[in-house]
Amino acid sequence: MTANGYLQLGLFLVVLLALVKPLGWYMARVYQGQPVGLDRALGPLERLMYRLFGTRPDEEMNWKSYTVAVLLFNALGLLAVYGLQRLQGALPLNPQGLGAVTPDSSFNTAISFATNTNWQGYGGETTMSYLTQMLALNAQNFLSAATGMAVLVALIRGLSRRSASTIGNFWVDMTRSTLYILLPLALLLALLLVSQGVVQSFSPAHTVPLVQATADADGNQVTEQVLPLGPAASQIAIKQLGTNGGGFFNVNSAHPFENPTPLSNFLELLAILLIPAALCYTFGKMVGDTRQGWAVLAAMTVVFVALLGVVAWAEQAGNPRIAALGVDTVASDLQPGGNMEGKETRFGITNSVLWAAATTAASNGSVNSMHGSYTPLGGFVPMFLMQMGEVIFGGVGSGLYGMLIFAIIAVFIAGLMVGRTPEYLGKKIEAYEMKMASLIILIPCALVLVGTAIAVVSPGGTATIFNTGARGFSEVLYAFTSAGNNNGSAFAGLGANNIFYNIMLGIAMFFSRYWIIIATLAIAGSLASKKLVPAGPGTLPTHTPLFVVLLIGVVLLVGALTFIPALALGPFVEQLQLLQ
């Protein structure tokens, strides 16, 4: 990689980390009900909404009520997305006259968007009407993100309260997330993106003449190009901020109308990691010790940078088989070099790998390059970032609550090693927490492994595998990894818009998301009811580099031990084949 490449990566991290504190501070105030400025304008609207909901903002819920609220709200959202897709042919705002989406695809997409996964079996511009994109998908981009943030805040309350029976009010947490955090940021980002050339229009597609006509496979002359439009900028802004990742167009953020310039790319990249990173500070602020937040953020950043290094190296090294054909793959000031298959010229290697790492570290899943064409080692990085349970930044809210669960496990092992009943932030970690925490790490692993296992030996699963050999296995593994961890990115070689994958992946996304939410809220409830043990010299500090190392170790080890055999049969063996 060139010096400029390192500079771009470094600058991105610096800008990201610089934004953590101000945004994190702001979000902490939002969740603690303190004045944030915006509430002067939006306060009346907020209060009106609570009145219409029929809920009192100061009426708190215990963990069971909170869980019921989350699940009910998500179930309704899921049904709405399903219904809108099935009925879009009869609904307005459908200038291309697209018909109803198939039942299995609708099922998959409904779960996908409600669970903040945003796996897309379909191609956006050719499947979804403007109405569906807006009312169904766009709404869930906000609401699934707000759900994740609310669950996180509930867990944080569980950690910070003592001997309490309640963990907050879901309707308040969710509404405030949307109103004061997601909407303002999305509005700002959307307009910045439009300025860069991201389309935002309700006009039908433009038809333009081609400069040079071409012939299709049947010899028919094609002289025109149809340029699809749509309200893309507003959706893309939230898809990045809410770690949703569901693209407006088929190729997602590789599409020039979704991500036209290096600047738009930088902004979108920032948006992917912004909230998950800043929530770490919010967490620290809310538990009364910002060092705790920085420690978690440090663990995330270290793993991120290390794996970013691997993918950057692998992709910049390029494909030796292409180089062997007499192709110049060496980076210079005039060309990006490396493995450019499936990458856009304006992004080159640097911005493609940065995106690949960011989008899978966060459970975003949008792409600006095709992971399916990455070198095996390069493709291993996004896959492994997901396999670690989407806790390296992770989804908005969900990433941090996942990481906190890992922290609980790390604290448990560390606590034993220093001879004390483990405690995290003054809360004793006991059998009940371990039971829930074990289930939380177990579920995604089980969904990924079992799903992949079924797929690779059933005709429905193998029929649409596009690449041969170990690559084909990686495609399936990647798909279930993505679904089972609610990421949504794809090794797009796999044809996933069929009944088998729509159903299987739908199930994986559903259980991964909601099971973890239930177990997390259960832990929140259990922790809230506990006494707070004051810290002393015998307490293991959880803000030190040592703990950061331990936390990283636990995350890496669980991910690695679970997936090494599968990874060996996919990316590892393929990398060895590539180098042969």
């Binding site: 600058l11 191609g123 949307t178 509005l187 229009s201 333009v208 309200p231 590789a254 020039p256 192709v327």
Partner: protein, 202 residues
Amino acid sequence: MQFVTKQLRPAIVALLLLTLLTSVVYPLVVTGVAQVAFPAQANGSLIVDSQGQLRGSALIGQHFDQPQYFWGRLSVTGPVPYTAFNADAATGSSGSNLGPINDALVGPEGTVQARITALREADPANTAPIPVDLVTASASGLDPHISPAAAEYQVARVAQARGLSVEQVRQLVAQHTAGRALGLFGEPRVNVLELNLALDGR
């Protein structure tokens, strides 16, 4: 059960209200502001020539395989390369998704070799190594850009086909080359459609 039914009304009302806010009010506000503040960008950054004719989008590449044009990245969209949208075939933007050791990519019959052969045949005199972006498919299939190295590789061929001097073509290339944003972000790149339109417009 009571604590389930108690949450039913907020769930329904919240879904409706927040959908209205996030899916109707928000996109409409963005659209309104965008159409006023950035009308060109919001509508696809269209290229309109001096006669007022629509010539394409500055952001969406087109397919070129004739020697007098600069060629862009490979595109595997269907039914023809650089199909941004085709309602009948239900196709649009797409990458190749070929793995790095897939014969369809790197085999003797693969796309890379086919492109190399095409490039060599179009300009047998050019024995320089081919820049990698010229033999690989872009992610979107609509990439409007190639690297400056890829443009330079083709300068001699285009100049010869058009009867221009290499310097003249090189100058045009330079005019349509964008550097890194703020000298820092992204990669230097040449807009193929704009460059070819400029060549035709000479």
